[in-house]
Symmetry: C2
Subunit: 427 residues, 2 copies
């Protein structure tokens, strides 16, 4: 999405507009497909991936070789690389989605009015969803599965380094869709690597109803700035754990360790530890030792550094930082109020936890911390569609509108009102 000088390409724009228009048409067919039919197609998609394993791995090998030649990082290559196990997981995921409850058509609420009108609020698909993503090829099949089950047409725009793998996966799945008698335009893949394609798609608000950018913060901000279409996004996860005065120290230690080291590179890992001043002297030395044993670098506030010697200083920038690494910033706070204020000021409204035995402080923290997921006595690592029992996850929203926190199938729907009357008119 770097800026290019040539910003016009009528042929490209025409092609994309046609794709978006057809996706819109197909979305109307998808919206009224039966659950049974959708589940059959999902299972057939899973089988097709396994059947064409060889073609997928071959296309992927070429992507990886090209990326390696370009000198892309080891972590990048790792994310890009597919193997038999990963393709099997992709196929399994599609099978899992087929087993989830279909949100479409569910009655959210029904009531009648004094004039006899019967009003039902009913779940319906959003329509056409554009997903913009980076290097992981499994996102291609995951998004197709979740959008298909929730009755949405999808337009996928993957990263150019994975284009061979993505195109292979997409091609296999689209053939299944066609074979099953569903419009092929129910799932769409942008085959060009022309960076202007995204800019053009983001203007097509007549056809596309939602944009979900997945990737680095810069990509997401650019999409947000350019889009005429509503965007649901997830910038970052600056998650906190506050260890209260009354905390069970062993529990607190276990939770903090889990939230920091079990998988440090993910958005629900903890980045800042806040400790009540009354227990800092006893809690922090033990906690710090355990963290350091696990390879964690600690950056402390002034008071933390008085208690734990030999650690680095946390600057203002550290309180805003999403390390995604074995680094933890630590701050001693006066009380639960200061902890809440710190979190609301520096946090990213993602996931934050209190460890406490004090019921009142627990409830205060739950109410006043303004985040998507607020925990009492549990690890922040549970913020996840599967862990929540949503069955699947298309992403985590740190936005406030439409969906907040883990987004499953239900969050890929909207609603409509069905109103049944017997000739009522407005007086």
């Amino acid at each position: 999405m770097r800026r290019t000088k040539k910003t016009k390409s009528p042929a490209l724009e025409r092609n994309l507009a046609r794709m978006a228009f057809r996706a819109r048409e197909a979305s109307r067919v998808l919206a009224s497909l039966s659950t049974k039919k959708k589940n059959e197609v999902l299972c057939a998609m899973g089988s097709a991936l396994l059947e064409h394993m060889g073609a997928i791995l071959e296309a992927n090998k070429k992507d990886v070789a090209r990326a390696a030649k370009k000198g892309l990082s080891k972590a990048f290559l790792e994310r890009l690389t597919l193997n038999e196990k990963r393709v099997c997981e992709m196929a399994e995921s599609l099978g899992e989605v087929s087993k989830l409850e279909d949100p479409v058509g569910a009655e959210i609420k029904t009531w009648s009015r004094p004039n006899g009108l019967l009003i039902s609020k009913v779940r319906v698909p959003i329509g056409v969803i554009l997903v913009i993503y980076e290097s992981r090829p499994n996102v291609t099949s995951d998004c197709i599965g979740l959008c298909f089950k929730s009755g949405n047409a999808v337009i996928l725009k993957g990263g150019s380094d994975a284009i061979g793998s993505n195109a292979a996966i997409f091609g296999i799945l689209q053939k299944v869709v066609e074979r099953e008698g569903i419009p092929a335009d129910a799932i769409n893949f942008v085959k060009t690597t022309d960076r202007r394609a995204v800019d053009m798609l983001l203007q097509m608000d007549q056809q596309i109803n939602l944009v979900m950018p997945r990737g680095g913060e810069a990509l997401i901000r650019e999409v947000r700035d350019k889009s005429k279409i509503p965007v649901i996004k997830h910038y970052k996860g600056v998650c906190h754990i506050f260890v209260d005065k009354s905390a069970d120290a062993a529990m607190a230690q276990k939770i903090v360790l889990n939230a920091k080291v079990q998988r440090p590179a993910v958005c629900n890992a903890v980045e800042t530890l806040l400790v009540h001043q009354d227990i800092a002297g006893s809690f922090l030395p033990v906690m710090a030792e355990a963290l350091q044993r696990a390879g964690v670098e600690i950056r402390g506030c002034r008071r933390t550094r008085q208690i734990v010697r030999g650690i680095g200083r946390a600057t203002e920038a550290d309180w805003y930082a999403e390390y995604l690494d074995l680094i933890l910033s630590v701050k001693v706070v006066k009380d639960v109020r200061e902890a809440i204020d710190h979190i609301n000021r520096y946090g990213s409204s993602h996931s934050d936890a209190i460890v406490t035995q004090d019921q009142q402080n627990a409830e205060l923290f739950l109410k006043d911390v303004d985040s998507a997921c607020v925990y009492v006595n549990a690890s922040t690592r549970f913020t996840d569609g599967y862990q929540f029992g949503l069955g699947a996850e298309i992403g985590i929203s740190t936005d406030r509108l439409h969906a907040r926190g883990p987004m499953g199938l239900e969050e890929l729907t909207t609603y409509k009102y069905e109103i049944r009357g017997t000739g009522q008119i407005r007086e």
Copy 2:
């Protein structure tokens, strides 16, 4: 919001940023106010409007005189003008909102996980809402009331022609807020008429969570294009009624007349009538006569004009038109399928109705018409927060995300997850 050459004004930007920041802070206080306290404040606000009736009317008189001098239209002046009755209605509205159920804190869903985590999805305020509106001064107090009750801080940017009236109403209500010990920044009013103010506010996505533009389509599109903040909007209402073959003709006639003439200038009035070909010959002459008697101009398709002589021709543009006037376009269609396709193609996803005695066609229409409100055997004029029983309405959304159709207090909230554990960590 016309473009100006001087686009920078650091002082203005600083002032607005300060306002937005303070609104954000105040929103945290609002979020935890008790329902009782909020209701008391709302009632006090209503009383204050009545108490200061004279000041409001005086300020309004100056606005109206200035607008008249500028040569603004009679309809515009009518919308701008306040009188004792209108101020009483504003006060009553605040009292009504105090009686509505408080959505904040309501548990949407609670479930437990196999590991013992208890997950609750709980309603919370959205945060800070920016409302951009045009000439009606009652919007000032209506929006303050609804945002306050739903725990949101509000920033109001009204039209420059009503600035004296709006400032008077706002000043009176803010004094009540302060007197009741609530941060004054819970409600905010942009006093400048500098057109750059809106552009600046639309960039402040760190502080402002939602923008609701109310007014003409041009204003709304401009806000959407410039905003970094999510926008919920309502472009227009191109509403349809389809009279099916099996319709009760008397009921159909009554509904069409009501939807067209009861109040033609509103968004839920019908603009296009679709009639099944099998009954067009008998239904249309009677219907047309009734409409013409009520002063309605009919613009028909070819077949309509063969049946009803002496009417104008409906062009392609007519099918897209929101007349907001005593004009109706009429088209004869083959069947319910053609009616649905016409509505999904030309409609604005607002409100559409079928009149039929055929249960199967009714259900098909309800499912396949892709609009916020779909009616069977009732007038489209019921799309309204009060008529739906939501108690109040801050607007109608023709968007698909977050809120669709009439928006009441519940639609001014989002949710958070409160998760209660006993030391759970992720394995």
